[in-house]
């Protein structure tokens, strides 16, 4: 294989073993290429200076303890664990998923509304919260919402920082807020529906968890 000075850069970029061999043979009689090849290889050799594989004895203990702590934390549902992937999705995917989520909630909400069981049927009364229980739920929900709002206020400065991670968290919270608003609207029309209340509670819990993660990053 015959190599000239013109082929040198291409070999530096993507040369095969044979091409490198040919270049070195050419460099033996070409001082310019010899210097270039030597300098190019020296950069690779110099990179070894950045290799420091010394053990950090305490590091594994630290990692293990944090892994164990997280492992022993209460297990969240599979669906909620999937939300951990949210920050890693691209913005367009996030927007698309957020849109789809709102659409699904809207469609299912209107379906439930139009196909709801008459309130006076015996089947329905079993599923409905009685008025005293309802008052209790609404009071607790108000307290819970206030507590989450306080958490949101604490996380506010961190959330407003212009990092991609925080932008993702803001998006996630936006989706959760819109889902919460949707569910609250449905619950407003059907206040005694326990199933809706459970869904709402799950959304609040996810929001709380998200805000705690934001605060955790703040440290």
């Amino acid at each position: 294989m015959k190599i000239s000075c013109e082929g040198r850069e291409r070999i530096f970029l993507d040369g095969s073993t044979e091409e490198w061999k040919a270049l070195e043979e050419h460099a033996a009689s070409c001082p310019v290429c010899a210097e270039e090849v030597r300098a190019w290889k020296q950069l690779s050799a110099a990179a070894a200076e950045l290799r420091n594989y010394r053990e950090a004895p305490a590091l594994w203990a630290r990692i293990e303890s944090s892994l164990r702590e997280r492992q022993n934390a209460p297990v969240r549902g599979r669906f909620w664990r999937h939300l951990d992937l949210w920050p890693r999705l691209s913005q367009s995917w996030q927007m698309a998923l957020a849109g789809a989520m709102v659409l699904v909630l809207g469609v299912s909400g209107s379906y439930l509304y139009t196909h709801r069981t008459p309130a006076n049927s015996p089947d329905a009364t079993a599923k409905l919260l009685k008025s005293s229980a309802l008052a209790e739920v609404e009071r607790t929900e108000r307290e819970y919402t206030t507590a989450i709002d306080k958490l949101a206020a604490d996380a506010g400065p961190q959330l407003n920082s212009e990092t991609p991670l925080m932008a993702n968290y803001r998006e996630k919270l936006m989706v959760l807020d819109s889902a919460i608003a949707e569910l609250r609207a449905q619950a407003g029309e059907n206040p005694s529906n326990a199933h809706l209340r459970y869904q709402l509670l799950a959304m609040y819990q996810e929001k709380q968890q998200t805000l705690e993660e934001v605060l955790e990053i703040k440290r």
Partner: protein, 226 residues
């Protein structure tokens, strides 16, 4: 017609291995053949499967196998051993949190290093922002005013670290992953979500830029090569 002359100030410190080992035309690829740090499919699969089953021993195996390499990459990307340890710890937590999403499309090591690189991105950005805010008026700390690597005759490592700081983040990552950590272009492509060709091009640009940064200023009469 003088030679282009990369008379690096650290030239004398480089071992003769490069010149005597002329068969090693691509040092990193050859290193991979001997060290085989990443490309051990059975070990990779065993560690992945242990981690997937929620066994903490799986994470320990990953740490014993790749921990020092992860820490080394993080230290080179972040410039501080403390930040590097934080990044490795955070990476393990992220691996644990998202292990269910590992589909085996790349090796487990490649997947773990992708998380590490992203974690370092986040930490670096956060730290840079803090630094810029705190030192807004201290011009000497801003990247644009970093002195040429060769001016003060620092050690090879320091010269290289300073020169690396002047590269783009992407070039720095590819150079460190390929030349320092010994990953293949195909693996780097998987980690950085780029094509293999893009990885090769980025490495080429990184090495060209490093060379220019490490080359001593030429005297007026010595220029004119090519």
């Amino acid at each position: 017609m003088g030679s282009v002359g990369l008379t690096l100030p650290w030239e004398h410190r480089i071992s003769g291995a490069v010149r005597t080992g002329e068969r090693r035309v691509e040092p990193s690829e050859s290193r991979m053949e001997t060290e085989q740090v990443a490309a051990e499919p059975s070990q990779d699969a065993a560690v992945a499967s242990a981690c997937l089953s929620g066994n903490l021993q799986g994470y320990e195996q990953l740490y014993r196998w790749q921990g020092t390499r992860m820490k080394n990459l993080a230290r080179n990307l972040l410039g501080s051993p403390t930040d590097a340890e934080d990044a490795v710890q955070e990476t393990f937590l992220k691996i644990q949190r998202s292990i269910a999403s590992f589909r085996g499309q790349s090796s487990f090591v490649t997947w773990s290093f992708r998380i590490l690189v992203n974690t370092c991105h986040d930490l670096r950005r956060a730290r840079l922002r803090r630094k810029v805010q705190a030192t807004e008026d201290v011009e000497s700390l801003l990247p644009g005013s970093v002195p040429r690597a060769t001016v003060s005759h620092p050690s090879l490592r320091m010269a290289l670290e300073r020169a690396l700081e002047r590269l783009t983040a992407h070039q720095r990552e590819v150079f460190l992953l390929y030349e320092v950590e010994g990953f293949r272009h195909a693996e780097i492509a998987g980690m950085l979500e780029i094509s293999e060709t893009a990885s090769k091009n980025t490495l080429f640009q990184a090495k060209r830029n490093l060379r220019a940064l490490l080359e001593p200023p030429r005297s007026a009469g010595a220029g004119g090569a090519r």
